[in-house]
Structures are given as structure tokens and as C-alpha cells.
């Protein structure tokens, strides 16, 4: 049976989410970023994200983006996987936001549309490109952090950098819980599909989405409570505790000045 748009989208969303959240395989790999102390990696990559956000030059953003690709390759991450899960998604969303600026920002006209008064301005195009490359770069660097660091180590690194206990507890729960929620949503749609004859029209699909959203909200609260109670029951009090203790090694002492130089250079050159 051919699936409806909603069920199909949700199914793909679940797959994507599972790939991202349960990407423990790549996080446990033997690449460059995987070998670094999570604290060094967290601070270094986030500082690069900040540098990318501050940069006003396409060339600097391009270099940072290229650096992200080099780090991904050195960490044995597939650029195709990054393209599918990060770049395309970021590109789509950013285009929606930046698209109108191409026409609305006044400036030197590069191309006049045949009908109407709309024109593509050089300043508008530059601004849109700047936003798209900036978002792509920031998303790539953030994805590198998530894909090369086991989730619990990432939380422990955040805690080591003084993130509040409440935030850590929330993130720890969210990790497991989002996948569960998506699985539940998927099961609900599959159950619906199995009892459905024919296809739903647009109005019926919207009504189904609203109804499912309501039921999911109820299940969300119930499951959230259960997961947190299960953690509490085994002694969890907000602190992330791991068997491995963080320890700086030779590669970390090389990475720290490496990150510092890259960040400083990007900020200075990007002004």
C-alpha cells in the first residue's frame, strides 16, 4: 500500500532522528576528533561556530567550511552522510529565510525578472549567500561534535564546563526519550495505515495530524515522567557519571593551540 505523505515523512524523520541520536558507532570510531578529550572538542568546535557566526566575509566562512570537511574526513565521517543529514536540511531551511532578501534588499541590480518589478540585487544576493554559508558552516561544525562524541560524554563535558545540573538532566532524558517518542508516533501512523482504505484528502490528513499531535502530547508527558522516575529510582540526581574519567593527552595539547589559532584567525580575518 502506498503511504500517505504524512506517514512517509514521519517515517523518514524517525530514521533520520535515529541515525543522528543513536550515532554511537561514529562516535566510538578511531578518527581525529574521536581521539580528543570531549571538553577540548566541545570548546574548540563551539568557538569555531562562534567565529563563523561573527564572520562577515564569504572567503573566511568558506575556509571554515572547508576546515569542517577536512575534520570530517580525518574523523572518518562520510561527506555524503553529512550532505544528506546536515547540508541539505540546513540549505532548505536557510533558503526559505534568506530567499526573499535576494529581491527585497536594495542595491545594484544584477538581474531584472521579466515580469513585475522584482530584481535580484548584488547586496541581497551577497547577504543571502553569507547567511547560507554561515549556517552550513555552523551546522557542519556542530554536527562534527555530536557525531564524534558519545552522548553521555558530551553531557559530562558540558557539566565539566559548568552547565546547570537541570539542563544536563533534561538533555540526558531527551536523548533516549525523543527516539521513543518518534517510534511511538510511527507506530500510531502505521496502525492507522493498516486500518485505512484508500488515501486521505488534505483536510483529513490535517485532522489526523492534529489528533495525533494531541495523543502524542499526552504520551509525551507520561513517558517523560516514567523515564525520569526510572533514572531517579537508580540514584540519578542530575550529575552525569561515567566510567571513563576525562584526561588530557598529547593530541589534546596539540589541538588546544590549533583550535585557538583557527578561531583567532577566523575572527580577525572575518571582521
Amino acid at each position: 500500500m502506498s503511504k500517505g505523505v504524512i506517514a512517509k515523512t514521519l517515517h523518514e524523520f524517525t530514521d533520520a532522528l535515529e541515525r543522528t541520536l543513536v550515532s554511537e558507532d561514529s562516535a566510538h570510531g578511531h578518527g581525529l576528533l574521536q581521539s580528543l578529550d570531549p571538553r577540548v572538542k566541545l570548546v574548540g568546535l563551539l568557538a569555531l561556530v562562534v567565529a563563523a557566526s561573527l564572520s562577515r566575509k564569504l572567503s573566511v566562512l568558506g575556509v571554515l567550511f572547508a576546515l569542517g570537511i577536512v575534520l570530517a574526513l580525518a574523523s572518518r565521517l562520510s561527506p555524503f552522510s553529512l550532505a544528506r543529514t546536515v547540508w541539505l536540511v540546513a540549505f532548505g531551511f536557510t533558503c526559505m529565510i534568506a530567499g526573499p532578501a535576494v529581491f527585497l534588499v536594495p542595491g545594484q541590480v544584477l538581474y531584472q525578472l521579466p515580469q513585475g518589478s522584482l530584481a535580484i540585487s548584488e547586496q541581497g544576493l551577497h547577504g543571502a549567500l553569507l547567511l547560507i554559508v554561515r549556517v552550513e558552516t555552523a551546522m557542519t561544525l556542530s554536527a562534527l561534535l555530536v557525531l564524534t562524541t558519545p552522548w553521555m560524554q558530551l553531557l559530562k563535558a558540558l557539566r565539566a564546563l559548568a552547565a546547570p545540573v537541570e539542563v544536563i538532566a533534561l538533555l540526558a532524558m531527551t536523548h533516549r526519550y525523543i527516539v521513543l517518542l518518534m517510534e511511538t508516533a510511527n507506530a500510531m501512523f502505521e496502525s492507522r495505515q493498516s486500518r485505512m482504505v484508500g488515501r486521505l484528502n488534505g483536510r483529513e490528513q490535517r485532522r489526523l495530524m492534529v489528533n495525533t499531535g494531541g495523543v502524542l502530547l499526552g504520551k509525551t508527558m507520561e513517558m517523560g515522567n516514567q523515564v525520569f522516575q526510572a533514572m531517579q529510582s537508580r540514584g540519578f540526581r542530575g550529575e552525569v557519571k561515567l566510567l571513563t574519567d576525562f584526561r588530557l593527552r598529547t593530541q589534546d595539547y596539540v589541538a588546544i593551540p590549533g583550535f585557538a589559532i583557527a578561531v583567532a584567525a577566523a575572527i580577525l580575518a572575518g571582521r
Binding site: 553521555m152 540526558a172 532524558m173 533516549r176 527516539v179 516514567q226 523515564v227 533514572m231 537508580r234 540514584g235
Partner: protein, 270 residues
Amino acid sequence: MTAILPTHDFNSSSLEFAVDDAHFAYERVAALQGLTLEIRAGERIALLGANGSGKSTLLRLMDGLLFPSKGTVRFRGAALTEDALENDAFSHSFRRRVGLVFQNPDAQLFNPTVFDEVAFGPLQLGWSREEILERVHATLAWIGAEHLKDRAPYRLSGGEKKRVAIASVLVIDPDVLLLDEPTAALDPRSQSQVVELLESWNDGRKTIVSATHQLDIVSEIAERAVVMERGSVVADATSAEVLEDMDLLEAANLIQRRRRAPRLPARVSL
């Protein structure tokens, strides 16, 4: 045992739990209505009752996850209150002694691998690294799940999930084990594996409280049976006595003596 956290000294009375006139409601729906129950050390008890009789709520109260709106729940003389469990020493000592296995293993298994899952409790209790490694490996070997240690818990079968959920609690070797529907939704082989696991863990000194409505396992997992209905205790006797009382079981909606299934409505012609 290397406990590096502060501890609380519970009294050594043989009375493990004392639940006195406990009331609890979700929103406006009453789950417990003046429930009173005493549990002694080393007892194996089955809490029997139909869906909605308050079994799961009682277990959560006994595990200090929920708190009664009226009445008290005491563990070895100490009242289980929000304030008490906010205290590090009390919380650490209580969690070390009492473990709860949830009905839904998906809610309980939240770590990336089975090994991390079983190590979660000991880590929270501040055990040494060496002791955690030794205990986790021994526990996984005991439940026959060493080969699963690197697997993601959510990818296990129902029976495997339940065994890992039980192992993740038994690894700390608690004095009291609370089980919510330990064999619900399991196939017969997984059911008997879980029952055997519980039998082999209990050496006569441990207290086991199992909430269930599956009567076929009661005589294997408990000597005493407490029947609950609408949030209160309606019978408290030996398992054999309760299982023989058909009128009681039927009144508590635990058996249905009618043999004919209700007829389905006639098929609607389209």
C-alpha cells in the same frame, strides 16, 4: 563496597515497609484510598489486582518516586518524603537498598549500550571503577547477556529487554526488589527465564514485592499474596489460600469464569 557518598543509617528492624492509610490521586482520579500494608524483611509478596487497582502507584510510593497526599510510607522506620529524599545521604542509602523494575522496559533502558545500562546504578551510587566493571560483567554473565553488552537496549527483544532491566537493578544487590508486572507481554520462554532469574537471586534474605495480574506465576514468585481493588487491600493471605479463593479472585476481576466469549456485532454492509 566502595561507597564514597555520605550514608544514612536505617534501623535494623525486621519491618521493611510500613504503609499506613496511604492516599494518592492522579489529577482527580483516586489511585490509592487509605491503603495500609506491612512488609517484613525476606518476604516474597505478590500484589494482585486488575488494571487500575493501584499496584503500580503503590510500588512508586514504596520507591520514593511518588508521595502520598495523606498517610505515610515508611522504610525501616524512616518516612519516605520529598524532603527526606532531597537529602544526599538518605537518598543514597535508600536507593542502595531498594530497587524498582518498571513495567515498561523502554522507560527504564535509556543508555546507549546494555553495558552502560547495567553500570548506570553503580555509577550513581559512587562505586569504584574496578568494582563496577567486576559487578557489571558478573551480572551480565548471570543473566546470560554478556554477548549483548555492546548492543543498544532499544534494539533487544522483549524478553532480553526485561532481563536487562532486571539486571540493571539487581547489579546493586538491593535488599528489596520491587517489580511491576515482571512477566507482562513476554512469551512463555521469556516468562520462565524471568521467574528463574528471580528465584536464583533470592537467597531467602531478600524482600521481593511483585505487582502482577498473572496468576500462573504467583505461587512461584511469592509466598504471600495481597489482593488490591480500587486502591485498597481487600485480602492478605498466603498465595495458596488466595489462589484457591475463586470468589475473591473473581470479585477482584482477576479471573473470569464465564467461558463464552461475547458475540461480535454483526458485520456492517457497505
